[in-house]
């Protein structure tokens, strides 16, 4: 198609509509062909496949449920959460493991802010291979390991992609605290050593419930201690739908005394702001 004129260039551009890529967002999200069981299509608010070595971000309402799926078995979702519009309240990985007395993320774990409140809860998990200790990769480390860590290169670093996601939400590099990651496991063994347990295989999924209005940043890149010499990163499916926040009476609300007080603090804070 000739692109030597404005009209030709316009026709050329418009002819691309309807093209499909392996990794892309689906709009409107309700057109996602396979909504979760029991979820009406018009409740789906985010439907996207994120390429390996790429990233995404979204502002999510309180009560949204966010399901991440490791489609081919080598996704690793590096996640940061912020109270939407209040960037000084954000994921605190240290409080997340310390307050809940457990280093490993899984169903029932709460992702805590540094304000004694819950940002999101983990309400389902078929993987069990996650990490809250090792953070994500950097340009320096990826350059040493793979020869490049830039966003435009073949082996982007998680921190470089999270910087871009942050900047698009009015945040700055200093707003990036340690992140948590899903689908590539790390355990602590004798004498504090780390053991990489890798993936649970294709199809593993984890579902988070937004307990406050959130800004969510996600980079899909290899785990920083993945021992393989190649940069292996496969697509991540992201699906979110409107549901409801954890409420008194939900078993999760009462699961631990620390969690109950975190939900109480969150409800107290949101009620004062007029957010239900």
């Amino acid at each position: 198609m000739a692109t030597g004129t404005t009209h030709g260039a316009r026709d050329h551009a418009r002819a691309q509509e309807g093209s499909r890529a392996e990794a892309m967002p689906i709009l409107p999200a309700r057109d996602w062909p396979t909504p979760p069981p029991g979820i009406a299509p018009d409740r789906v608010i985010w439907a996207e496949t994120v390429a390996g070595g790429n990233y995404t971000h979204k502002a999510l309402a309180r009560g949204a449920e966010l399901r991440l799926t490791d489609l081919a078995g080598d996704a690793c979702a590096h996640v940061l959460l912020y109270a939407d519009g209040r960037p000084w309240e954000r994921l605190n990985a240290a409080d997340t493991v310390k307050v809940l007395w457990n280093a490993y993320l899984g169903e029932g774990h709460l992702l805590l802010a540094d304000q004694g409140r819950v940002l999101a809860s983990v309400i389902a998990d078929t993987s069990g291979r996650h990490d809250a200790l090792c953070g994500t990769s950097t340009a320096v480390r990826n350059t040493a390991r793979y020869g490049d860590g830039s966003p435009q290169g073949p082996s982007p670093a998680g921190r470089e992609l999270l910087k871009l996601a942050a900047l698009k939400n009015g945040l700055e590099p200093r707003d990036l605290p340690p992140s948590v990651s899903f689908f590539q496991g790390v355990r602590v063994v004798a004498d504090g050593k780390l053991e990489f347990t890798g993936s649970a295989g294709p199809g593993a999924a984890v579902t988070l419930r937004a307990e406050q209005p959130l800004t969510v940043l996600i980079a899909n890149v290899p785990h920083p201690v993945d021992p393989r010499p190649e940069y292996v990163s496969t697509p991540l499916e992201v699906l979110a739908w409107h549901a409801g926040p954890t409420a008194p009476g939900d078993p999760l609300w009462e699961a631990t005394p620390e969690g109950r007080r975190a939900f109480l603090n969150t409800a107290d804070h949101l009620a004062a702001r007029g957010i239900r």
């Binding site: 409080d95 310390k98 490993y104 805590l112 540094d114 953070g135 320096v140 603090n265």
Partner: protein, 201 residues
């Protein structure tokens, strides 16, 4: 050489120039020293617990540990440690997290985040500049099932850790005031901070 005794429950900060050594001495024993590091010339580059952990393949800090930044560059190196191991998983106590960990009755108690904020503000740092920190002399084991917690310390009076600055580093410290767990032996005590020139130069 400059030596400062940081009173119990108080903050402290200083710029340690490249090549200088910072010695942190646990005067009374089992006193957690919460510590953050910043590139003195670009505070967006700051201590990263996860980079430090994944680079050394171990959650504990001791002699030889390189304290890395969020850009995976060395800020300081532990050149001597007479205690044995230190924590960088547990983060800092705060008034807010104390309400989760112990209950709302602790709300009026002082906490490390208060120290970090008050001292950091002197250097233009704010809430958004606080990240997961080092806890010198704090003992945080992780069990096989992931259970993790602050338990009785392994430090003693006079034990020290010596850090060499690999670049000009702003060191921000909270001499931990926590009284609800054993990180300070339920009795916060002073610590000593000494900055010396590189004796090996």
């Amino acid at each position: 050489m400059t030596t400062t005794v940081v009173p119990a429950r108080a903050p402290w900060s200083a710029v340690v120039r490249k090549g200088q050594h910072l010695t942190i001495t646990d005067l009374g024993g089992n006193q957690a020293v919460d510590c953050l590091l910043y590139d003195a010339h670009d505070t967006a580059v700051r201590y990263s617990a996860p980079d430090t952990i994944h680079a050394q393949g171990n959650i504990f800090l001791t002699t030889g540990s390189v304290l890395l930044s969020n850009e995976h560059t060395p800020l300081m190196t532990v050149v001597e440690d007479t205690c044995g191991r230190h924590d960088t998983v547990g983060g800092a106590c705060s008034k807010e997290s104390n309400t989760l960990r112990y209950g709302h009755h602790t709300w009026s108690q002082h906490a490390c985040v208060e120290n970090f904020l008050a001292e950091g503000a002197k250097h233009g740092l704010g809430k958004r500049d606080l990240v997961s920190n080092i806890n010198w002399y704090m003992n945080v084991p992780v069990e096989e099932d992931g259970t993790l917690g602050i338990v009785d310390g392994i430090s003693a009076p006079g034990l020290k850790v010596v850090l060499r600055a690999e670049t000009d580093v702003l060191v921000l410290v909270s001499n931990c005031p926590q009284i609800n767990n054993p990180c300070n032996g339920f009795d916060p005590t002073p610590v000593e901070m000494t900055i010396t020139e590189d004796v090996c130069a």
